[in-house]
Amino acid sequence: MTPEVPAVLAELAAVVARNAAPGVPEPERASELGLTAMLLGLAAEVWDGAAARLVEENRALRALLSDTGADEDLRLSKLKAGNDRLRAALIEAQIAAEQAGDQARQEAIWAELRASTERRKISVSLV
């Protein structure tokens, strides 16, 4: 998820600490902590599967792009950096397929994009 979970958790820690102090107006405390609780719930939901999702998607993208690389470093930040590089390459590949009128290639790319939204789908998704 973007922004990245570690950066968000660090900020939420600051929010909780701020609201633990006296003098915060009650409606604002309730609003900030309620929102914080929802965000923590989402972070908890995606955490366990985050690395697996990125590895799966990077493999699918490499197959589609004929990229011979591999995910050697399994830290989430490294997997995400690789994912960003591959998704940027996918945009270029899709533009090339559109310009060439290559319907089969376009369909394969749309299939991967569809799958990418299934991988990222959260329990409270509106669509």
Partner: protein, 342 residues
């Protein structure tokens, strides 16, 4: 309750704006949750004037350090004022202040329409089911009234740029694509593919130049238990353009709230019929489809901007994170759905 730290500063400002007021105090000030584009507070002002005690409930809308939506508060203020007292219900605007000396950031103050609800979750949770048909009828009738209104007669062409009828779509698409270019933190292949499709298949010229609210959806109006709508809110993205843009924003699948109904309220065809009746305009299906996809892209740009404000450090509030986490992927899925890919 602890006095809000802004209260004495707001009181000092009001004392300069209400002639003859003395002993002016600001009480019961509290921030209203949500409001990622402006900080919103409600409060009660009390003062003495001509030997009598006076009281008025008011709303303060203040610019945050960095916003989910970067807009001109002058335009928002003008749009509210233009429709006050018309068939489009809005709260009365009282003062616009662009000098940050008073409250650190620009702001405006309006009357509070008290005792009403805006929450879509509350509206759609079951307790208001009997009122939903009335809400729906009023929602799209009011939107039709906005579309029907003459921006020149309202004085808005003096405040807001008026694009040519055949240039409405391009101006909006250029603007929101630039938001992606500026704020995106990662590649967005689905949104970029949608933008290419939109540019390759432009809609026909607008049938008229209209006021476009820009965020007219369930959640941005105040309703009562009988289903009457008393105030249309959140005009911060108001502009002049194609009236179909406003109709289509509410048909972004995100705003179905998972219920498979336009705005979570009724079938899309019925909403269109109400709008056409009220506006006297036609919703060409192909043009409307273009504007629905455009609005999915616009929505995604807003969620990307929200994430960008957090990442760049301009605004670290949790309200900036939630739209990105909750909606970025759902909006991608909405784009796929509208493009017939899901």
């Amino acid at each position: 309750m602890t006095d809000h730290p802004l209260a004495p500063r707001v009181a000092a400002y009001l004392a300069t704006k209400i002639p003859g007021a003395s002993d002016l105090t600001v009480e019961a000030m509290e921030r209203i949750s949500g409001g990622a584009s402006r900080e919103t507070y409600r409060f009660r002002a009390r003062w003495r004037e001509a030997g009598e005690s006076r009281e008025r409930r008011m709303i303060l809308r203040r610019d945050p350090p960095a916003s989910l939506i970067e807009t001109e508060r002058r335009v928002e203020f003008a749009a509210y004022r233009a429709f006050h007292g018309s068939a489009v219900p809005v709260p009365e605007m009282l003062w616009l202040e662009e000098d940050p000396a008073h409250l650190d950031h620009p702001f405006f103050i309006a009357e509070e329409l008290a005792g009403l609800q805006a929450s879509p979750q509350m509206l759609l949770a079951g307790g208001y089911d009997a009122a939903l048909p009335k809400v729906a009828e009023r929602k799209w009738t009011i939107l039709g009234e906005i579309a029907k209104a003459d921006p020149k007669a309202l004085g808005l062409t003096e405040v807001i740029p008026a694009p040519p009828l055949d240039g409405c779509w391009r101006r909006e698409l250029d603007y929101w694509e630039a938001v992606f270019d500026r704020d995106q933190a990662e590649p967005l292949p689905i949104a970029r593919a949608a933008i290419r499709w939109l540019r390759a298949h432009p809609p026909p010229p607008a049938q008229k130049l209209s006021v476009v609210h820009g965020d007219y959806r369930t959640g941005n109006f105040l309703y009562d238990e009988a289903g009457e709508i008393h105030g249309v809110l959140d005009w911060e993205m108001a502009h002049l353009g194609d009236p179909l843009e406003d109709l289509a924003w509410g048909f972004n699948p995100i705003w179905e709230f998972g219920r498979g109904l336009a705005g979570g309220l009724l079938p899309r065809e019925r909403a269109i019929a109400i709008w056409e009746q009220a506006s006297g305009l036609k919703a060409d299906p192909q043009a409307l489809h273009w504007w629905i996809l455009f609005n999915c892209v616009k929505g995604q740009a807003i969620w990307v901007g929200s994430a960008g404000a957090f990442i760049k450090g301009g605004n670290k509030a949790p309200i900036m994170i939630y739209p990105a986490w909750w909606l970025l992927n759902a909006q991608d899925r909405a784009i796929l759905k509208v493009m017939g890919k899901l």
